[in-house]
């Protein structure tokens, strides 16, 4: 138990320590793109910075966070010590080594290919090897989630696995499958060329493989946040989860429909025909459903909490919610940002309509609303929830976690 806590803490701290420089780079990039004066005005540093920012935010930060959160769930929701903790540390070490290996060449300006790689553009092989290692490290976590899931099932035959464990296992499986696209692009197409063993890359195939990863990865980022929506938030708000079944359906829908869905990033590409693009559009419509179901269940759960706390009338329950709880405030804010982010996505995925916004700042804004708005805010709220339990110390300066002194309660 003691050691399980250290394991989770190490992952969470690594995630947030990587997040810190990445968010600073993001701020500088915003200055570069805006009419405001930027302290350093150099396009080459800008491209290196975008590469570092994207690589950390897309691969390193969410991977470490999901691993740490997963171990915490396995221990606390299943109520048993983590099986295979040694292997968890091996995975952690591999991912950490990979992170350093990837970021050093980026900082040296030798891998400014952006986190989306864009072959035949090439960077230092260490960059790709490092990111592959981050993902390989996370495969240990995937295996451990399955092992612990099954161990609990064996001890509790016939009982449904707690929703949080159910969801984090779905998240792990989703990641295990979806990461294969980028991993095979790196291992079989990019690395052989950077090492000089091969001299050509089929850019169309590379883009297709990468897209297998590049949309479902968003659900890999989102599922930990959704777990907080479904399991941590109702308690923090003082209510109940509206429906456990809807939660499970949501996570299964994610797992099933996210699999090939990323090829909708290629609507404006010349290597796929109209029929295939249409199929991708339809699949993406399917995967919008779990998010729309979540919005309902979470709003309903918040309403229950508000009414239990004495809120009356059509909107009175909103005022009655404990807005000074980090989790409640974070979920409230994240739903506000997830809304426009998600509806923007409905335009992106709408087949020919994609031409209006393809490669414009609209897309950047779309995924930042999802990632910054929903994912990061809720990751922070989860940390506020977990850290006191993991360190067994109360949160110091608790009120600052909400950004203001006293809430509506």
């Amino acid at each position: 138990m003691e050691r399980g806590r250290v394991l989770s803490l190490a992952h969470l701290w690594t995630a947030f320590l990587c997040f810190l420089p990445a968010v600073g780079l993001g701020f500088w990039q915003m200055l570069m793109r805006s009419p405001l004066p930027a302290p350093v005005d150099d396009p080459n540093i800008y491209y290196a910075s975008v590469t570092a920012h994207g690589s950390i935010m897309a691969y390193v930060f969410p991977t470490f966070f999901a691993m740490g959160f997963g171990y915490a769930i396995a221990v606390s929701a299943l109520g048993r010590p983590l099986q295979g903790e040694k292997w968890a540390w091996v995975g952690y070490a591999l991912s950490l080594i990979g992170t350093v290996m990837a970021l050093v060449p980026v900082a040296a300006g030798r891998a400014s290919v952006l986190y989306t790689f864009y072959p035949p553009l090439l960077g230092s092989p260490w960059y790709y090897l490092g990111l592959a290692l981050v993902i390989i490290g996370s495969y240990f976590w995937i295996a451990l989630m399955l092992v612990n899931f099954r161990a609990w099932k064996r001890e509790n035959p016939g009982k449904p696995v707690p929703l949080a464990m159910f969801a984090i296992t779905a998240c792990a499986l989703l990641w295990g499958w979806t990461a294969l696209g980028a991993v095979s692009e790196v291992l079989f197409q990019i690395l052989p060329v950077t090492f000089g063993w091969s001299h050509t890359i089929d850019a169309g195939l590379a883009r297709t493989l990468f897209s297998v990863t590049l949309h479902a990865i968003v659900y890999f980022w989102l599922i930990p946040a959704y777990i907080a929506y479904y399991t941590l938030m109702p308690q923090a708000a003082g209510g109940r989860l509206y429906s456990d079944t809807m939660g499970r359906i949501t996570f299964i829908l994610f797992l099933v429909f996210s699999i090939p869905v990323g090829m909708h990033h290629l609507f404006m590409d010349p290597e796929h025909g109209a029929g295939f693009k249409f199929v991708q559009s339809v699949l993406t419509f399917m995967v919008a459903l779990p998010t729309l179901l979540t919005v309902f269940t979470i709003t309903a759960s918040l309403e229950i909490a508000g009414r239990v706390r004495g809120g009356k009338g059509l909107f009175g329950w909103i005022r009655a919610l404990p807005w000074d709880e980090p989790m409640v405030l974070a979920v409230g804010l994240s739903l506000l940002l997830l809304g426009p982010g998600g509806f923007g996505g409905l335009i992106n995925m709408s087949y020919a309509m994609n031409a209006m916004i393809h490669n414009t700042s609209w897309v950047t804004a779309h995924f930042h609303l999802i990632f910054g708005g929903a994912v990061v805010i809720v990751y922070f709220a989860i940390a506020y929830e977990l850290l006191p339990r993991l360190t067994q110390r109360p949160l110091v300066l608790r009120t600052f976690s909400c950004g203001f002194g006293s809430g509506a309660s």
């Binding site: 850019a203 308690q235 109940r240 729309l292």
Partner: protein
């Protein structure tokens, strides 16, 4: 921290039948919303031919300059027998060739682009003409310009350290000012 993730359902607070009923209603409304959007895509696809680019054509990027339709003498605007325009452009680090193309307004235009090196983006500002240019493939985009004027045409996909400087222009002139080209004649801003 034993039960922090283990929620009791809302069953004690709200009757099970109410939960099932409201959930089903929401599900149907959302499914209907997505259904309507999908129907719009299908109907505009059939009725107005609104599709993303969809001709998959391949080409050897290593021999672009030696043979085939992307040799230098064939780049720029060409007039087809039916009066429509075909524009052939090569995208390469860090320029488009030709750097400036001339087109008549209100005329069907077909852009044919390919890349000599890495992935580039083809985007004509303030229009929906927007596509990827991938080495080994030909990007085939059909459009037409109603308003005469000069349109910026930046590369909108990161293509290396010089990416921010990679841009061309599209000059759209009124139909009567567009030079009458012979079938084998090609035109860009320089040869106008």
């Amino acid at each position: 921290m034993a039960s922090q993730f283990n929620n009791v359902g809302a069953a004690g607070l709200i009757p099970e039948t109410v939960i099932v009923k409201t959930e089903r209603r929401w599900f149907l409304v959302m499914a209907a919303m997505l259904g309507v959007m999908l129907a719009v895509i299908v109907l505009t696809g059939i009725g107005q031919m609104l599709h993303p680019l969809s001709d998959v054509e391949t080409i050897n990027p290593a021999t672009l300059h030696l043979q085939g339709e992307f040799v230098e003498s064939n780049l720029g605007s060409a007039v087809e027998p039916d009066g429509s325009i075909t524009v052939r452009i090569i995208a390469e680090q860090y320029m488009f060739v030709p750097q400036c193309v001339v087109l008549p307004a209100s005329t069907p235009v077909r852009f044919r682009l390919t890349s000599a090196d890495v992935v580039h983006g083809f985007f004509v500002q303030s229009t929906n003409t927007n596509a990827m240019v991938v080495p080994g493939y030909i990007t085939n985009v059909r459009t037409s310009f109603e308003r005469p004027g000069t349109y910026q045409m930046p590369c909108d996909e990161f293509c290396g350290f010089g990416h921010h400087a990679m841009a061309a222009r599209v000059v759209v002139v009124p139909r009567d000012q567009f030079k009458n080209l012979r079938p084998d004649e090609r035109m860009n801003c320089g040869t106008r």
